[in-house]
C-alpha cells in the first residue's frame, strides 16, 4: 500500500514541471509565429487598416508592449489563481469558454471511447480466436479500410448516407445522443480499427504463452482461460493506446468538430491559432495538457494495478 502511494505521488510531482514546460513552449511558439494580435483585432472585419496610433493603443491595452517575460510571468501568476485572462478577439473570459466547451469535447471523446471499447476490444479477441477464417478476413479488410480512410472523407460519406439519403441521423449540432453517433464514430474509427488489430495481435501472442498450455492441459474451459488469463495479460498495450487516444481527442477533433458543428475545444483553439489569440492558446494548452497528463497518469496507475511486474519493480 505504501509503495502504491509513493508510486502515485512520484508520478504526480513529475507532472508539474511538465505542465509549466508546455506553457513556456507554447508561449515561445506564439512569439516566434508571424503576426501581431493587435493587428488581428483591429483588422477583424477585413476592411480596416489601423493607424500607428490605434495600433500602439491596442498593443498597450492588450499588454503586448511589455517585455515577453513580464507577459508570461503575469499570465502564469493569474493562471495559478484560476484566471486565464480574456480572449483578445471576443473579449470573453478564457476559462469560462474553456469550461463551457470542455464537456462538449469530453463527451465526444467518451462516446468515441465507447465505440473503441465496445467494438475494438471484443472484435480483436474474436479475431484472434478465428484467425484466417472468412469473417475474420472480412473484418481485417474492414479494419484496414477504417485505418486508411481520412476522417473528413468518412464523415462526408456517412453524412451522405445517413443524413441526406436515409435521413436517419442529423448532420450536425450538439445536445442530444443522436447527434453524437456520427461524429464519435468518425473520431473513433481509426483507433477502433487499430485497437482491434492490436488486441488481436496481443491475444494471439499471449495464447502462445506456456501458462495457456498449462491451463488447457489442466482441462480449463477455453472461455475461462481467455477471460481470466489471456485477456488481462494482453490488454495492457491496448489501454496505453486508448489513454493516448483520449488525450489526443482534445486537440485532434478539430476537423470533426468543424464538420459536425460541435462547439468543442478543437474548433475554439483552431480559430485562436489563426487569430494569434494568445490567452486562448495558453489557456487551452494548460487545460488540455493537464487532462492529457492526468490520463497518462491514470494509465500509469492502471499499469501498477494490473501488471505485477510494475509493482515488483516499484517495491524493489
Amino acid at each position: 500500500m505504501k509503495s502504491a502511494i509513493l508510486f502515485s505521488l512520484r508520478k504526480l510531482f513529475l507532472l508539474i514541471p511538465f505542465l509549466i514546460g508546455i506553457t513556456i513552449l507554447s508561449f515561445i511558439l506564439g512569439i516566434i509565429a508571424p503576426g501581431d494580435p493587435a493587428i488581428v483585432v483591429l483588422t477583424m472585419d477585413g476592411i480596416t487598416e489601423p493607424t500607428t496610433a490605434e495600433l500602439t493603443a491596442m498593443r498597450h491595452a492588450m499588454g503586448l508592449d511589455q517585455p515577453y517575460w513580464t507577459q508570461y510571468g503575469k499570465w502564469l501568476l493569474h493562471a495559478v489563481s484560476g484566471d486565464l485572462g480574456n480572449s483578445y478577439v471576443t473579449g470573453k473570459p478564457v476559462l469560462g469558454e474553456l469550461m463551457r466547451r470542455l464537456p462538449v469535447t469530453a463527451s465526444l471523446a467518451v462516446c468515441a471511447m465507447g465505440w473503441v471499447v465496445v467494438f475494438g476490444i471484443p472484435l480483436g479477441i474474436w479475431s484472434a480466436k478465428n484467425t484466417n477464417r472468412g469473417p475474420e478476413l472480412v473484418l481485417r479488410i474492414f479494419s484496414l479500410l477504417l485505418i486508411s480512410v481520412p476522417g473528413f472523407w468518412l464523415a462526408i460519406i456517412l453524412m451522405l448516407v445517413f443524413t441526406e439519403e436515409l435521413r436517419l441521423l442529423p448532420s450536425s449540432g450538439y445536445g442530444s445522443e443522436v447527434q453524437m453517433i456520427m461524429p464519435s464514430f468518425v473520431l473513433a474509427s481509426g483507433t477502433m480499427a487499430s485497437v482491434l488489430r492490436l488486441q488481436k495481435t496481443t491475444v494471439t501472442e499471449t495464447m502462445q504463452k506456456p501458462f495457456v498450455l498449462t491451463g488447457q492441459a489442466k482441462g480449463l474451459p477455453l472461455n475461462h482461460i481467455m477471460w481470466k488469463h489471456v485477456f488481462p495479460n494482453s490488454v495492457m498495450p491496448v489501454i496505453t493506446m486508448m489513454g493516448t487516444f483520449f488525450g489526443s481527442v482534445l486537440g485532434g477533433s478539430v476537423i470533426i468538430e468543424d464538420l459536425f458543428s460541435i462547439p468543442g475545444l478543437g474548433s475554439y483553439v483552431l480559430s485562436a491559432i489563426w487569430s494569434r489569440d494568445y490567452p486562448v492558446i495558453q489557456g487551452y494548452v494548460i487545460v488540455s495538457g493537464t487532462i492529457f497528463v492526468v490520463f497518462n497518469y491514470l494509465v500509469d496507475l492502471s499499469y501498477y494495478a494490473l501488471n505485477p511486474s510494475v509493482r515488483q519493480e516499484e517495491e524493489s
Binding site: 503576426g35 472585419d45 477585413g46 480596416t48 469558454e97 435521413r167 442530444s176 462547439p263 489563426w274
Partner: protein, 529 residues
Amino acid sequence: MNAMQKKSFFITLILLAVSLTAVIISLPGCKKQSVSEDAEIILAAGRDLSPGYKDPYFSTVILKTWEPLIAISDDGDIEPKLALSWDSNESRTEWLFHLRKGVTFQDGVPFNAKAVVENFKRYSHMGYRPSSFYGFAIERVYPGLLKAEAVDEYVLKLTFKRPVPMLIYRMAGWGSAMFSPHCFNADTGDFISTAMGTGPFYIADRKDNEYTVLKRYENYYGVKAKAKSVRIKVIPSPETRYSAMKSGEVHGVIDLGGLTPILARELVKDERFACNAAKSTISHYLTLNGRRFPFSDERMRIALNLAIDREKIVKHYFCGFGTPTMSFLNSTNPFTKVYPPYTDMEKAKKLASDVLQGRRQKVKFLLHQYGVSRYPYKIISEFIQAELRPLGLDVEIVMVDNQASRKTMQRGEFDMSIGTRGLPNLDPTWLLHEFFSAEGGMNKSSSFGYYNPVIENCFAQLDYTYPIPERARLYDTIIRQLLIHPAVVPLLEDTNLAVYDKRLGGYKAITYGITLDKVHWIRKDEAGQ
C-alpha cells in the same frame, strides 16, 4: 469457439445492429415534421451571427433585430429608417435629424432623441470596438463630433468640429445602430443584457457559436415579420450546410458564403430547393506589389488588367454568380459607374514584352488561408497562373496563413495576391483614400507603392467640396484614373446567394442578407396560386 457459440455471437451482433437502428429511428429529430404556418423556420449560417455582449452591434444587421437611423436600402441606396429626414447648415458642421415617432424598443422603452443621445454616449466611450462584421470607431463615422444633443423629443442635433459632407452616407447601415439604453453600459460600450433594438425580430434565445432564436416583435411600428420564429443554426462547414439542407434539417442558408456557388448549383438540381441572387458589396481583386519589378512598371499592371479573362472566372469558378468588373468600387455603391471588362491579349503581350525585354520573370502569388477556405481562390490562382504564362510570367503560388500573409505583404516579399473587400457604408471616400492615396493605410501595408498626382488632387478637393454632385464627379475621376493607371486588378463583384426550401415564401437575396422579415411558410392556398 464451437459452431453453436459462433451462431449465437452473430445473432447477438445482428440483434444489436437492429436495436440500434430502431433506437435511432425512434429518436426525436430524425423524423420528418409536418409544417404548420407558425412552425419554426430553421436557417444555417457559417458563423455566429449574434456574437453578443462585446460586439458593437450584438448581432448582424441581417437578422433585423436592430435598425439604424439611416439604412441601406435593398438596392444599396440611402433609406430613412429611424431618422425620417435630416438637414444641415451650409458648412456641414451642424446636422439635425427628425426622428420617427411611435417607435418603441423591444423592451418597451420609447425611442426618442434622449435614447439616441445615450447611444451616442456609448459610441464615444467604447473606443475602437472590433467586430467580425465591421469594426466601429466613432471617429471613423462621425469625425470630429463635438456634441450629440436632443433639441426636442424627436429632433437630434449633431455638432462637428469640421465639415462632414458625407455624414449621411457614413451613417447608413452599421454606422448608426440604435439600441435600448437599458441594455448597454454607456460608459464601457458593453451590452449588459440581450440587445434590444427596434427591428421586426427580437433575440429570444442564443448560445454562443451554436444558435440564435429570433421571435417576431409584435409591437413593431412597420409591417410585422411574417414568420413567428426563426432559428439560425451555426454550421461552419459548407458541406455540412449542404447536407443539412438536403436532409431537411434546415430550410435555408443565410449570410455571405452560406453555400458556395458550386454547392448551390448542386442543391437546386433537387426540385425541393430554389435559389436567387442579389449583388453584394463584396468585390474580389488582385493586389500587385508596385514596389518591385515587374509590377513596379505600370505597363505590366495594365498588361495584367488586359490579360485576365474575368468572364471565365465568373462562369467557371462562381457558376455565373458574380459580375466581372474592371472598376474598383463596387457597383452597389451609389457613387460608382459600371465599367465592363474587356481583354486584349495581344496588347497585353506587347506591353509585357516591352517590360521584360524578352526574358521570363518569376512572380510570387501569395494565397492566404482565409480566402482559400471561403472562396475558390486556389483554382482561380491556378487559372491566373496559366493566363499569365503567355506574358512571360511564371507564377509560383505560395499558400500561407492570414498573419504570415499580412507580414509578407507588408515587407513587400511578394508580387501578387488575391483579396476581398466589402463596404461598411455608402461613403467611398475612406475606402478609396485607404487604397489609392499615397498616405493610405492599405497602400502602404500592402506594398502598392501607388502614387497618382491626379488622384491626390481629387482627395485634396474632397476635403472642401461639399455638394454631393461635385463630390460624385471627383469619385468618378478617381475611378477613371484607376482604369488608365491601375494599381490593382479588380476581378469581379460577388453575389449574395439565397438558397432555400421551396416551401418557404418571401425568401429573397438582397445586398445585405435576405428579406428575413418577409420569409414565411407558404400556406396551401398560397401554394395553389
